[in-house]
């Protein structure tokens, strides 16, 4: 098992709030978090894809993870709400600025496309409303073979009883189909009081029908796979890999996240 991660902390321009959010996450024992920039897909690119704000501008000092002696690691992530196939542009240059790329498909067709062809790391499952389609076996298996993870956010379930029901229903349907494999559970909230600790999430995921070990993977190992997958996506299938020389890389936001010896493992 690897470090605990929460790969969905929505971006807020409010620096103070972001700071408390990071502090809470560190206090709860998350070693890595990803700040999520949400982008609603539109055709013809009317709206610009936001550029990630450099971390140094957001927080002055990264909080220390509880029970550890090192600071929390913060990544950038882009989530695109896709309601039409044209919303996702393959290999767009804007995506390169982000560490992790996620999509949230709204129709069955797009879900299928996202699982089978989209070059992404995470597919978000809608939890705030009734799923407009059923999960089919083929795309789910396709996603598993390509190493794409499904993401479930639990914060909506804390907020409201109806949403809790949708969260449970949709996740139960998903877990039924892919047997608890490649699912990650993340928060998806910008309120510190809606964050929960990794062991709480492990227990919560058992409600979705996952076993205890699978549930724990959902906050640790599977997240690590996401990061490695993101790495290979950015580095031509992980065959070619460049490392910045130490003298020009900044310790905070420069170096990539995966292991250095990635070159040999393709």
């Amino acid at each position: 098992m690897s470090l605990f991660m929460d790969l969905n902390l929505p971006f807020t321009a409010d620096k103070k709030r972001l700071k408390t959010l990071l502090e809470t996450a560190a206090h709860l024992g998350f070693s890595t978090v990803a700040i999520n920039y949400f982008h609603e897909g539109q055709s013809k690119g009317k709206k610009e894809i936001p550029k990630p704000t450099p971390l140094a501008q957001l927080v002055d000092e990264l909080p220390i993870v509880q029970g550890k002696s090192r600071p929390i690691k913060v990544l950038n992530r882009l989530t695109i709400l896709v309601s039409d196939a044209s919303h996702f542009r393959h290999n767009a240059a804007e995506y390169r600025a982000y560490d992790i790329l996620a999509v949230q498909p709204t129709t069955e067709k797009l879900f299928h496309a996202a699982c089978m062809t989209f070059d992404v790391d995470i597919i978000c499952i809608t939890v705030t409303e009734r799923l407009p389609f059923f999960f089919k076996r083929a795309p789910i298996n396709g996603a598993r073979e390509r190493g794409v993870m499904f993401e479930v956010c639990y914060a909506a379930a804390i907020r409201d009883s109806t949403m809790r029901r949708y969260t449970l229903t949709n996740t139960l349907a998903l877990v039924e189909r892919n047997k608890g494999k490649n699912i990650i559970v993340s928060s998806g909230t910008d309120k510190p009081l809606e964050l929960r600790g990794p062991y709480d999430i492990t227990n919560l995921a058992q409600l979705f029908g996952m076993s205890e070990v699978e549930a724990k993977d959902g906050v640790s190992s599977n997240c690590r796979s996401v990061l490695l997958h993101a790495e290979t996506r950015k580095t031509a299938c992980g065959i070619i890999y460049t490392v910045k020389t130490p003298n020009d890389s900044q310790p905070k936001d420069g170096p990539p996240l995966a292991k250095k010896q990635k070159t040999s493992a393709s």
């Binding site: 009883s161 809790r164 029901r165 969260t167 449970l168 229903t169 139960l172 349907a173 039924e176 409600l207």
Partner: protein
């Protein structure tokens, strides 16, 4: 492919006022069952029974229901059935209660059970019949159901 395993609950609905029996329909019963599950088992129960739960068949004449539940949660739904006290239809409240007669893995086993059950009921009705005509009717009905059982033919609906 793995078959999705379900359980079928064969239930009888008892209505205090028999004339209202005809008002029953599947959507009203679905809502009543879902409400009962929600109040007895909360959001978790509601979520469990929103996947793969459906009312397969309602016979408004005899008050027979087939409920289809996923195998994993049939006990949860079953346990909530006794808490149903009324069914609401078009703003009218029909007070009733459900009793579960049989739990089967397929509709077919439930149907077989239902025929046997109805035959039994007819046998019990026979001594109570007052006129000869009624008796003949009941006898014919028993005969037809028994021959059905013997032939094992498919047929669409049960009538007694």
């Amino acid at each position: 492919m793995v078959r999705v395993k379900s359980r079928y609950l064969l239930c009888e609905i008892h209505v205090s006022d028999p004339s209202k029996l005809l008002l029953l329909e599947d959507r009203a019963i679905t809502a009543a069952v879902k409400d009962a599950v929600t109040s007895a088992h909360g959001d978790y129960g509601a979520a469990q029974c929103s996947i793969g739960f459906s009312v397969k068949y309602v016979n408004a004449h005899t008050g027979i229901l087939f409920l289809r539940c996923p195998k994993s949660s049939y006990r949860l739904i079953w346990s909530a059935l006794p808490f149903i006290t009324s069914v609401e239809r078009k703003g009218r409240r029909i007070s009733c209660f459900l009793s579960c007669l049989h739990v089967g893995g397929t509709i077919r086993t439930c149907q077989k059970f239902l025929i046997r059950y109805n035959t039994q009921q007819l046998h019990r009705m026979l001594p109570k019949c007052k006129t000869q005509e009624e008796k003949d009717q009941v006898r014919r009905a028993i005969l037809s159901s028994s021959t059905y059982m013997l032939k094992g033919k498919e047929h669409k609906e049960e009538r007694d």
